[in-house]
Symmetry: C2
Subunit: 379 residues, 2 copies
């Protein structure tokens, strides 16, 4: 049995990201590459500084294209679920940062079809309901309304299908089976679906950069095998690590395990209860032992959340780490820091979500890019 497993549908075990880079054949984001981004961007997003986005394909070429004035575009997506959690939102926040910095178009595919096809118990009506709800959360992130197109697969299919069949003709059952772990009992909708996840990488005749979890990389491998034969660029990608569940730094946060998940709708009290009760601690069993031996931030989920995203101040996070490791900072105190940060973040998000209601139409139908996209048939 492998110690960990990563597919677009499941992440199990303690992921060895170096091994994943090797297996997938991607590249680590080097200090040099980060420095180049910093120069172009003026700063480095916390998710880059802390190596949450840690791996890439052709990111160097994207920057080259940018500097040469050729431009590029961003593409990411969302498999709708009943309520999004904090781990879901983070790649969007990063994508928005990239959009702000590079002033480029963002395409966001909401895969109501795939989610329905993948889970025996789901109805298409459900996944579309969730999609609408999730789109509000995505809209709350604050993308540029005239440079962002959010679309539902089942709605935008007419514009994508001609190119999708061209992509599909180049992919055999053998290939998708090997890439995604499909088998002979996989339904034919799911077998076809990879074509639809690949099409948006060809929305423009420029290089596409995809910020997404590294579990999605199999799609981009397939894309890179066939893109040039269709007259498009091999897509670039920038891969993130998985946001861990409260239960520990294994697997990834998942909507299907509510107690180990912080939903975007969780009330302050719920957040407090979940963190206090379930957040796996790297601290010692007693205060005395903790003072004596200190805590281990590497396995402490609260620390990891702060480190990955919720405490972007490098000085502060360093201090927290040192004090936790030395035993000065207790687990309860560490959790309090996280709870405050989380609730602040969620509060702001929910306000923005309310305000974003009027923006959804722009992203989906009426904004400058959206209008252009509804006129375009991709083929």
């Amino acid at each position: 049995m492998p110690e960990f497993e990563v597919t677009p549908w499941e992440v199990k075990g303690k992921v060895d990201y170096d091994k994943l880079i090797q297996e997938f054949g991607t590249k680590r984001i080097t200090p040099e590459l980060k420095e180049e981004i910093r120069k172009l961007a003026g700063e480095l997003h916390v998710l880059l500084r802390r190596d949450v986005f840690f791996s890439h394909r052709d990111l160097d070429l994207v920057l080259q294209d940018h500097k040469a004035g050729k431009g590029f575009f961003l593409y990411t997506g969302r498999g709708p679920s009943r309520g999004m959690h904090i781990g879901h939102l983070i790649p969007f926040i990063f994508t928005k940062w990239l959009q702000d910095v590079f002033k480029v178009n963002v395409y966001i595919e909401v895969t109501d079809d795939e989610k329905f096809l993948q889970k025996a118990g789901y109805t298409l009506e459900e996944t579309r309901e969730w999609a609408k709800d999730n789109i509000l959360d995505i809209a709350a992130v604050g993308f540029d309304p005239d440079r962002t197109f959010i679309f539902l697969d089942t709605e935008y299919i007419r514009n994508m299908y001609p190119l999708a069949v061209k992509v599909a003709k180049k992919l055999t059952f053998n290939e998708v089976r090997a890439t995604f772990g499909f088998n002979e009992s996989t339904n034919i909708g799911l077998l076809f679906y990879p074509a639809l996840q690949i099409v948006p990488t060809m929305f423009e005749k420029r290089r596409c950069l995809i910020p997404a979890g590294i579990d999605q990389d199999p799609y981009w491998r397939l894309q890179r095998d066939i893109a040039e034969s269709l007259g498009y660029y091999k897509t670039a990608a920038i891969h993130s690590k998985f946001f861990p569940p409260l239960s520990g730094v294994e697997g990834k946060m998942s909507s299907s395990l509510p107690e180990y998940t912080i939903y975007l709708t969780d009330e302050p009290k719920t957040v407090r209860t979940k963190i206090m009760k379930y957040a796996f601690s790297g601290g010692q069993p007693t205060i005395e032992l903790h003072r004596k031996y200190g805590g281990n931030p590497d396995i402490d989920v609260s620390f990891q959340y702060l480190y990955m995203f919720f405490e972007p101040d490098d000085q502060k996070i360093k201090k927290i780490e040192e004090e936790y490791r030395s035993g000065k900072l207790l687990t309860g105190e560490l959790k309090e820091i996280l709870i405050e940060k989380l609730n602040e973040f969620l509060e702001t998000h929910r306000q923005r979500r309310e305000e974003a209601k009027s923006l959804v139409d722009k992203y989906m139908y009426d904004g400058e890019l959206a209008r252009e996209m509804w006129r375009k048939i991709h083929e």
Copy 2:
């Protein structure tokens, strides 16, 4: 090796239709059933009288529904090709007759996607070009412009896709492999396609009757396995035999063998040359032997064409058969009869095709049914 083979993509060998009925599990159209149609229709179309449409599923239930006032609808289709031949047109002529008789809606799916996905050498641009051309030929048949909807898969996909994924979720690779003879190297577009051929059987919440070649029956078998679980009727079907190529009564007429095929665009001189030169004859090698032993109409392609469709007068065809069998009618004379009939038919068709140009928009977008269908999302 089997003596004959029938799949939606290929017909090989001398087809034993009784065996096919058994293998496919369909039913022969009995004299009683024909009589019932005759009573309802007032007459019996030549294609029914001569058993070109010879097999069915649930045709009895369709008639029952009709008599009970529940109604039904017709659905057939066309995989576009570079130029249609006479064998292609015949099912449409029969479908139009059914529409006239029963005053029902007709849906015609033009599968530009499937044709592209199925043949390595074709481009989607080609199959769509052919589709437009083929649609003119179909329009020339004279369907009711307010009760007929002709659509291209790549254009109408947005309206079909939600229901298509519901269908697709119920079909596994194993099932489509077994049904269509797919394999591990089949592309994922073609694997998904059966869902799109099934969807139109669910365009109305009434029974669907499909007039089509029996080679298409595998789709209907799959449909019948899953339709009720989605809240629709098992489709009914009425199956035709294959229109043979000029080379003999084996296989089916195919656009890929031009010399054995009568295209709808063939000039009178071309028709004459092809029939004289290539139409397989059941006659004797010399006039003397022919006068003595007579010809064999059962293997004579010219006679078969007249019998299947081009000489609808029962008295006349009987006389031709007798005289050919007795040796009174020579092969050359028989061929002359066919040439005249064919050229008359093609001449009329081409006139109608010219006149139909203005109708295409009605069938596809502007007619009463078309407008209704563009408003409808099937799910």
